[in-house]
Symmetry: C2
Subunit: 156 residues, 2 copies
């Protein structure tokens, strides 16, 4: 009994740790998104897309995990703001190819330079870890993700 309880306390601590990190990320993202007059999904899309310069909407969905309705509206906003271009994919008219515009590239440069951005915060965090700590962290998280995804599948 006491062993079971210990086990559940340990797992609750881990869950709480992730919950806490996530809270920090959301706060930082929200603030920096607002500073650049973007919504959170728009900001997330922009920093995901920018390093590749172009991606399909489908790929962006996979990378950011946003439900497609949210995705669609965020993309619409970015297109309206002329930060990205949206064109049907050459040989598959269902898919949309999203391309960073010059204006979008400029904004991304600005975002990258902002001291308070999530990107900068995570660079500091990454730098503070040793090579081994970093690798182990990613490995452990990879493992946890696999198990959580199994749990998701099991539940549906």
């Amino acid at each position: 009994m006491s062993l079971e309880k210990d086990a559940s306390i340990r797992s609750e601590k881990l869950l709480h740790s992730f919950w806490h990190v996530n809270h920090c990320i959301r706060r930082i993202v929200q603030r920096t998104a607002l500073e650049n007059e973007l919504t959170i999904p728009q900001y997330a899309l922009l920093i995901t897309l920018a390093p590749f310069e172009e991606m399909t909407q489908k790929q962006l969905g996979k990378a950011t995990f946003f439900p497609k309705s949210t995705l669609s509206q965020a993309v619409e906003g970015l297109v309206q703001a002329e930060l990205i271009q949206r064109n049907p994919v050459e040989d598959n008219r269902r898919e949309m190819l999203l391309t960073l515009s010059d204006k979008g590239q400029l904004l991304y440069n600005k975002i990258q330079s902002q001291e308070s951005s999530v990107l900068k915060a995570f660079e500091l965090a990454t730098d503070s870890l040793s090579e081994k700590q970093y690798d182990d962290l990613l490995t452990s998280q990879r493992q946890i993700i696999t198990l959580l995804e199994e749990a998701i599948e099991r539940g549906e």
Copy 2:
């Protein structure tokens, strides 16, 4: 330049890993919350409160990171559903002491037994890690949290 780019790719990977874990957590929580006819905040409050049986609303806020408006409404819902009792703290009438009711305890037992709950999923995840992996993970994340919180403070 190439070094800088490497550094930013490394940190983006880490950010994405956290984002991914978080997405899994939210999906599982959302499903299991719904199964028990609770909203996400209500579910989160319940599993946070239950191990302690009673907590002030303020403490729950600190533990779950919900903004107080969200907190207030989630608590109201739990009180309406008679899962918890809410009473002013003896010697400080500003604070509310929240106590798990018998009905709440019953629901929590049910939640704990559900194979698909976040709690179970995280128990599996915790079990899959070695002692050292677990400790290192928490240590690294603790370190990251500290840096992110500094970034938050810096930004406001």
